[in-house]
Structure formats: structure tokens, C-alpha cells
Symmetry: D2
Subunit: 336 residues, 4 copies
């Protein structure tokens, strides 16, 4: 930490800070510049040092260290590799995870699952518990939906990823799913993060709709600190002023995360754009930017979908997307 | 709803849409303009109509009605009045709710509570369960903190507002608190919203950090739809690109909400600005903009606060703020 | 400036940086922490130091000083007072500046000017050169508009503020206006800023639609550095994700600026909100937050306005606003 | 346009609107829904209809048509192809445009130009007039810089792109450059847009830092409406709350624009990210998303660059980038 004093502070003001730091067991390194005095703090007690900003003599407190540890690449330089069924996240493979937004019926799920298998995609997505903006919208099939997903796993040899929305649903999801998804609205539901820290299954943690990359990594740190190191980060668009897309897909987050963390990073272009015709170009871009995988919404009949139809690919378009993703991956020495 | 067709659509495309609408029991009103054909939809099935946007022939689907009902002023033109202890939200009164960010000790709480009572403030705030960005930060005293708050209530005749973060903490909070706060990170924790819909106590619902006003009202609609009409909305700053304040306090939301909803609206200038020296001017501005009350962080010794010290007022500054709020309120024919 | 080295940098890496700083005439103060080495730079050559961020061994370069000088309160602790006609910005007075968005006709301007005079407002606003989003929109009356404004000045004893959009219009505006306005889209039109630095008249500099406070002050620094110290800053809303208002009025910017700069700060609630019914509450809030004045759009017949009708007050509403602003100002020991 | 009436409006209110529309020569199509009456407006006078939003009886006015014409794909379905030297924008080719941020010296420019030629890049970028946030920063070499660029053109057979910042610099830039760049801060400098509408050379129009896609296309419409159809759009990052990158590169804008307009779209990953190590992944992503070309900052010695060193590639990294871009382009059936 660095404490920047206001201009015009006296020797005594500086000594008062140094004394406080001493009480917290921290050493101070005072540097008097032409216009500001700066105090370098040596030691770890970030929480305490931040409080100094409430003093009238202090202009700002600047952190120099990342606030997260377990998930930082500094702490763990090698990529974390997460193996689920035939998929291996973090190895250069592009893990394809197509599926419907919400599980609506056995037929719907099987239609997508069969195509996913045929296209060589190792994971099937589908929501059984749906966090919906309106209390009057379809809220998901619950356990019945999980059973349909489990049947698709048996039949087509796919791993299953599905969302948990609270402690209650987490119990069932952890029983049926191969990967537990935590959605964008729950990224800072810290009690839920603590709970998924203890389930012994990989977690896919979506970025909060307006979360900074640091806050996102702190959310992952919650999961890791509570015992679960198998975390996949998923960029799904952030909130901006631009109305032409539902959110703005922040693909720069992919290479930024690759520098900061050892965790795999995947991208969901369907929720980000909100429009099916933008999904393929953004899926290709995500892979070119270095994403470890893709969540893609697909539906046998998007115009009848109970949730997010406008952003769902129909099955021919899903096939087209997978073929092109495969080409871009190969060009960069990667594979599906 | 209005369905705008793409340019170049044929008579048959339009008929296909009209037929679908008919299947859903909806009437269509077709209007052929110079460059676009527009279909006015008469009837209520919003969810279904939205799906039409996935069709190639449809350019956009435009809602003309608010998505919320119970909380809309259209549905309920009179202000909702919520009485808690000596406070009455929604009557023109400015309800002052000072207190520490986190309950840290009996002494700390009593010091603020005593001053609050002396200044005529009817409600005391204080967190016993703290959602913290870092898993390594102080997470609150839990039930012990609630007991300290309850003691302050007895001793100083104040109503208590404190936050619940999940089903578990909600049980205890609902037992001890007069108003249950749902924090910014939980605004779209729909399972928690459903639960507070059933507790029979007033709820203060903070705006999500990047929530639109419509999403916020939809979150309130969840609470109302699950049985609880006593909802106080709290503006606490939104996420923007400006780094000089922690968030950007969106005071325009106050008069916007006064038009859209009958619910009371209060403001938290402490979390919004993140800096104690900005709290008083923004508190005054909030009252001038029409806010029904203020949440204000105050601490006997901000530099020792375990949470959010830099934004906490010390007690002399709290006194100064209350006096000036009182003057602005009086100038506009209101009172504390 | 502070240079934070990456973890794992060697003694030699640090020496290389220290040597470069030495070549630029700067002293280095090296501080070795538990996880990072930090170099405090003593001296002024900000531009050069920033370049160090391109080195592989450097994690970040943190400025500790404000980038602006002439406009900073540190450099000039007393408020700048700007007197124009009967108005005095920066003295605690609330300077009222009502008027139409665009000058459309003699009758229109005189109607607003007469009321402004009657209400005791010292300044009249009105645009003769209009920067419009669409090339097909009304672009203003130009010099003819300026002449109408000048006539209103003579007749009603008001000072005139109007916008210049390029070097050409600036020539005429500087001849006719008492205060030259630089609009939000030109806040970083640096060539225009240099030119208004030389006109010898007060300048009102609107905040860019997505400008940070620091960038805004740097734009003011351009004007000051080119010779013009009489700058009035005008907050007019920033771009955010919230669609219910045209922009989000960032009133926190008012007290933030009061700390950082000695320049007067006014607020334009009409452009910020884009909706006439929100203008009065936000005008009152602006004054309560400490604004030195208000730009208010008013029109004798908003539904016929050639520009921005939906956000213009009609004349009875303008009267109502001025009366309430006067009450809030008085409550805080200020006057119109 | 669609006019949505407030709930509770009377027959007479509706007739008043219909009468006004009639005065403007517009036909009305009234549709009475269960909760709102909606008036479809048939005809073109957008400006007038928008004013209706200032009436108390009108809830909102919804446009159904794009506000731009000349630049819309609807108006001109085929891609605009712009040929400059060996480059052809809009044909599927990926036009590479590397070069230094600012022209600093003959040696610097020739070093990059020689490599650009060797790598097969057809265009060289370089700034002679630099819009800088600080008045104390290097402002460019001006005409001398243009002469150096012209010499590089002769020597290496490259087309030149460089920025104009006002009418004055535009005169010189139009004389020396093959493509005139309008920078992000000038995207809504409408007087400058009118001027570049008349220069008879291709224009590269960068997106404003917080411009919506519609505003950007309206800025292009200014150029087109003043006579210049050869416009290249350049996405360069938008302002968001995320501090890890200088701006957030909005790659979704590429496929969105491909739907809305016939103009070519290129991407500048250097300014967007502000960090050289992120430039290559985002360049690859841009091509995968469908960009027609790339502006890439490169410098023989980034740590000595007078402007934007931290985001400049050194020459080996530029070579690496061009090779990988070439692979991704080929995978998608495109070429450099």
C-alpha cells in the first residue's frame, strides 16, 4: 500500500501515520517529493491501511498488490486444468457447451443434445432454475428439468452444466450436474459462493453484469477460499450505454484474465448480444481472443422458446457456428 | 406491444404474425407506413409477443406498457405510507436513518444511537451481516450484532434497520429488525426477494449497482407479488466510468420514481460517494430532489471503523448534516 | 509518480529504471516490500515517467499529483469570482440563466427575456449555432440569432450566454455574447479551447458527455494555459446505462469540483434529464449540492420548439422553479 | 413514429394529436389497447413528431425508422468498396494499417514503414497533429510530420492515413494523406464533419468515446450528406466502468454495423486496450468478428515513444501479429 499525504501536511501528520502503522505491525518508508509526501507501507494488513483514507491529512491510499491470492497467476503460475467428461478446460482445447436457455421439455433437450453429440461438443447446457427479471415469467422446471438433463447425459455421453440460484437448488444441482453454474446476478451472492466452495464439483462463475475484473476475481477467491479450486470464469457481457446489444461483450477481459489468473476463461456470446445473428461472429472472436470454451444457446424452434428465444440459434445455425469455430481454432493451433 | 416489421416484408409475413397473435388470443392492428409496417398488439401476453423478435421478418418488438403492476402508480395512484416507530415514510417527512456501516461493539452503537435520539432521528441503521467484496474482510457480528441493535432500540426509542443476506440471516433479522434491508448485491437475488415477500415487515430495497430503474421496480414487484406491499426503495449510486466517487449518485431517479411508483424513495449518500466530505452536500441535494429519507453512515471514530471508515461521518459532522437537512426540508414545506 | 515493479523483478531491473530516471533528471526512492518493489519518483517529468509502463518489468505507474495546475485549488486556494452584468459567479450567489435552447424568433426570445427580467434572473441563455446530432435538423439562426439576443440584452438588462461551435462562429459569438459557451461535444476540441483561451471573455465549459472530472479540468487547463482564467464549469449529465433520463446528472461532481478547483460550477438540469417534469427537482438539488448557478431551458410554447421541446419549461413552470430555488438558497444562507 | 398516450387520456386528447399531425401533413393510425392508446404516424417529419413528447398527454414517442439514410444498408444494400493504393476496404480483404501513434522523426517512421512494406501491409498510420488531453503534452510535428509520412509513401509504396483536428490542419492533411482520420474526440465536431464532406478523399471516422452506434452513423451521415461517400468506420473502444483496459473494445459493434450500414468497418485495438500485450489477441478477435482492417500502433522503441508508448508494439511483436492475423483471415476464407 502507498499512502499519499495531502499537500501542506506537516512532519507531525506524517509521524502520526507512521505511528499508527507501527501499532498494526507495519513498517513505513517515507518519501518526500516536491509537492506530496508519500508513505510506502511494508507488510500485509490492507484492511487497516485503507481506513487511513478517512483522515483529513490523507489524500489517497493506493494498493500496489492484487487483493486476491489463491486465484492469482502470481500465486499459481501454471494453468488450472479442469477435466469434465471428455472436456479439458485450460489446455488449449476450445470446449463447446451448446444447449437451450431453459429446459422446457424432453423433446427439446434431446433434439439439441443429439446434435451436440454429432458435432463433437462435450458439454450440454440448460437451465432448470431460471432467475427471471419478472416474477410473472417462467421460472424453470426445477428437479424435473435436472432429470431431463441427466437423461440426455446418459443417452448422448455429454457432461451437463446447469445453474443453481440458492442453497436449496444447489443441493439438487450438485447432485445432477457435472458443472454448477453461478449466474451473473449471483456473482456477489457471497453466501452462495461460500456454499459452492464446498460442493466438490467444478463451478462456472459468470461475471456480474457490472462487475470489474477485480471484483470477479474476488468472487472466485471466495469459492477457492472455501475449498473449491475448480473454477471456470465466464465473460457474458457487461452493462454499458449502448442499446444495440443487450450487453457489451468485453472480450478484452479474456487476455486480461489470462495474465492475472490461472483459471480457465470461457465466453457466452448469446446472453451478451441478445441477438442470434450476432452470436457466431462473437463466438469466433472469443476463440481468437483466447477463450477456453463457449456457452451457446440453441433451440430446435427459437420462436417458441419460453426464455430468450431471440438470442437462440436454431440447429442449422449451431452447426454452422461449430464448423467455423473449428476453423479458427485450427488456424491458431488449437482444437475443439 | 408493437411489432415493427423489417423493410421489404411481404403481406404473407405480416399475416403469419397476425395468425400467431391470434393463437395467443391477441388482436392485431396493422399499420402500413411509407417504410415500415407496424403491428399494434392488443392484449396482455407480453412474454409470448417478445419471442417474435427471433423471427427474421421482425425488426423489433417495442413494449408500450410498464412491465410492473403492483408497484406502479398507475395501478395505485396514492402514495404508500409506511409507519415504523416514530417514522412515517411517504408523507412528506424526511426520515433520518443514521448509524454505523457495521455493528462493531456495544459502545460504538450506543454512542451513535444516543446522538441520533438527541437529534430527533427516528431510525438507527447498522449492519450485523456484511456482504464484503473480499472473503478475508470482517463479515459482521451476526446475531450478537442484532442483539446490540435491539438494546439500542430499547434504550433510545429508535426503530432498527439492518441487512439480511440470505435465508438463514433473514430469519434472525426478521426477528430483531423493524425494517429489513436488502443490499445492492442482492437486488436480483430473486429467491431472497420471494422470502422477504413473506416476512410481514417493511423492506428497504437498495438499487442494484448497475440496475436500471425498471429492473429495480421489477425486483420490488417480486416482493409485492409474494405478499409484502411495504417496500422502501433506496438509491445508493450506480456504476459509471467516473472514478472520483465510489459510485455515481443518480438523484434524478428520485423524481423519476415519484412518477412511476407509489412507494417511498430514500437515498444513501454515504455508499454512493464513498467519501465523508461529500455526504452532506449530497444529503441536502437528495432532500431537495424529493427523497423521503436518508441513510447516513456515522461512527464515533471513523479512522478505526472495521468497514467503510472513509465514508463515515464523525458525530459532530452528523449533527451539522442533520441541522442543514432540517433547513432545506423546512424551505420546501417539509419536516424531519 | 510511483513506479510499481512486477513481482520477480531483479535488482538489475530496478537499477535500469533508476538509471533512466536519472537521465531525465529525476531522483528515485526505492522501497522493497514483501511482494512488490516500488520506486517513488521525485521531480516533475510526468510524461517521461508514464512511458516506463511499456517496459516488461513494470506493473503500473501511479500518479500522485493532479495533472492540472492553473485550475487547481492547490495552486489558487481562493474561489475565482467572475462578474458578468449583475451576476457574480463564485460568491455564494445562485446565478439563474434561463432561456430557450435555440433562438427561433424575436418574439420567442423576448417572451422569455421579459419573464427572466421580472424574476430577477441576471443572464439569458439561447443558442444561435446548434450542434445537432442529425445533419437534417435545424442548425440555428447564426448571426441573426445573435442579434436577437443582443436586442434582448439592451431591452431587459440581461447578460447573454450563447455557444460557439468552431473558429468561425467564435468570432461572432465573442463579439455579441457576455459569456461564450463551449458545448459538451466540443469539450475536447482542443483547437477550439486554445482559441477561447484568447478571447478575453468568460467561458462556460460544459462537461463532455463521458468525460471524467480530471479530463474536464484538463480541458479547462487548456483554456487557462492559453490566457483565459475566467472559466465556469457546467455539469450537464453524463452517459450511463440508465434510459429513463437522457443522461445521468452527476451532482456529486459539484462538491468534488469545489474541493479540486477554484472555478465556479453551474448545472444544466434540462439537458441532463431531457424531460421538463424532472427539471425543477434537479435544479433544487443542484443548488442544495452547492452549484453556483443554473442553466434552465424555457420556451413560451415547448410543443412548438424547434429544438429540445420535451425538456423545456413553459413560462409558469419557470416562475415556479425560480421561486423554489430562491427558498432553498435562502435556507442555506445564499441568495439569487 | 409511434406516439404512445398516457393512460387516462381522453378521446379529445387523441384528436388534438391527430389534428396536429394533420397540420404537418401526416396521417395518423389510432389503435386503442387495453391500457394505452397508440397512434401510428405515417409520413416522414420526425423532428416535428418528436416535439409531441413535451405534451402532458403523451407518454413516449417511439421511432420505428433509422434516423440515417445515405449510410444505411437499407438505402444502399451493397458494400461500399474503398480503394486506396493497394488496399481495398469492403471486399473481404483485411487491410493492415500499422504505424506509430505520433510521427516523431524520420528514422522512427522509416523503421516502421520498411517493416510494414516487408510484411505486405498496404497502409501506414502516423499522427502529425495530436489531440492531447494535457496542454503540456507533445502536440505533434504538424506539416513537418506530414512531409515525413509522404516520404515514407514514396520510398515504401504505402498509402498514408493521418488525423486532422480542425479546418486549418485539414487543409494540409488533405494535401498529403490518402485517408483523412477524424479522431474520437471530434466525432461530433459537426463543423469539421461538414468540411471533410467536401475534401474528395476517403475519411476514417473513429467512434466517439461514448458514442452510441446510432450517433456514430449519424456522424457518418453528416460526411455523406456533405458530399463524401467514402467513409471507413473505426471502432476504438468505448468508455465503461472497467479500469483494466483504457477503454472497452466493443467488437459486437462490427457485426451490428455490418447489418446496419454498407460502409467498411475497421478496428483499433491499440487505443482501445492501452496495453501492448493485449493488442494481438484483440486484433485476432476483431478479424474473426468480421473487421475490414486494423489500425495497429507500432514503434521501433516503445519505451522512448513521445505518445502512447505503453500500447505500442515493438517491431518483432508487430511481425508476430501480422502472421497470426493472416492465419485467422485464411481460416475464414479471407486474405490480407
Amino acid at each position: 500500500m502507498i499512502v499519499v499525504m495531502r499537500p501542506g501536511t506537516t512532519e507531525q501528520d506524517v509521524e502520526e501515520i507512521v505511528a499508527r502503522l507501527g501499532q498494526w505491525g507495519l513498517k513505513a518508508h517515507v518519501s518526500r517529493g516536491t509537492e506530496r509526501t508519500v508513505i510506502g507501507v511494508i507488510g500485509e494488513r490492507t484492511e487497516e491501511v485503507v481506513r487511513l483514507a478517512s483522515l483529513q491529512t490523507v489524500e489517497q491510499v493506493v494498493p500496489v498488490r492484487r487483493p486476491y491470492k489463491l486465484v492469482s497467476r502470481e500465486f499459481h503460475p501454471e494453468n488450472t486444468v479442469i477435466r469434465v467428461g471428455r472436456a479439458a478446460f485450460g489446455t488449449g482445447e476450445v470446449v463447446m457447451m451448446p444447449g437451450p436457455c431453459a429446459v422446457e421439455s424432453r423433446e427439446q433437450v434431446m433434439a439439441v443434445a443429439e446434435l451436440a453429440r454429432d458435432l463433437g461438443c462435450p458439454v450440454l447446457r440448460g437451465g432448470a432454475y431460471k432467475p427471471r427479471t419478472s416474477p410473472y415469467s417462467f421460472q424453470g422446471l426445477g428437479v424435473e428439468g435436472l432429470r431431463i438433463l441427466a437423461e440426455a447425459r446418459e443417452r448422448y455421453g455429454l457432461a451437463i452444466i446447469t445453474e443453481a440460484v440458492d442453497h436449496e437448488s444447489l443441493k439438487y444441482v450438485a447432485e445432477y450436474a457435472d458443472i454448477v453454474q453461478i449466474g451473473t446476478r449471483n456473482m456477489q451472492n457471497f453466501e452462495l459462493l461460500k456454499a459452492v466452495g464446498q460442493i466438490g464439483r467444478p463451478v462456472l462463475l459468470k461475471r456480474g453484469m457490472a462487475a470489474t475484473i477485480d471484483e470477479w476475481l474476488m468472487a472466485a477467491e471466495y469459492v477457492a477460499a472455501h475449498g473449491n479450486p475448480d473454477i471456470i470464469l465466464c465473460e457474458r457481457g457487461i452493462r454499458t450505454y449502448e442499446p444495440k446489444t443487450r450487453n457489451t461483450l468485453d472480450l478484452s477481459a479474456v487476455p486480461v484474465l489470462k495474465q492475472l489468473t490461472h483459471l480457465p476463461v470461457v465466453v457466452d456470446p448469446s446472453h451478451a448480444t441478445g441477438q442470434w445473428s450476432l452470436v457466431e461472429p462473437m463466438a469466433l472472436a472469443a476463440v481468437a481472443a483466447g477463450a477456453d470454451g463457449l456457452l451457446i444457446e440453441a433451440h430446435p424452434n427459437p420462436a417458441e422458446a419460453l426464455s430468450d428465444g431471440p438470442q437462440s440459434l436454431n440447429l442449422p445455425n449451431l452447426t454452422h457456428l461449430v464448423e467455423n469455430v473449428s476453423r479458427v481454432a485450427a488456424a491458431l493451433g488449437r482444437r475443439l
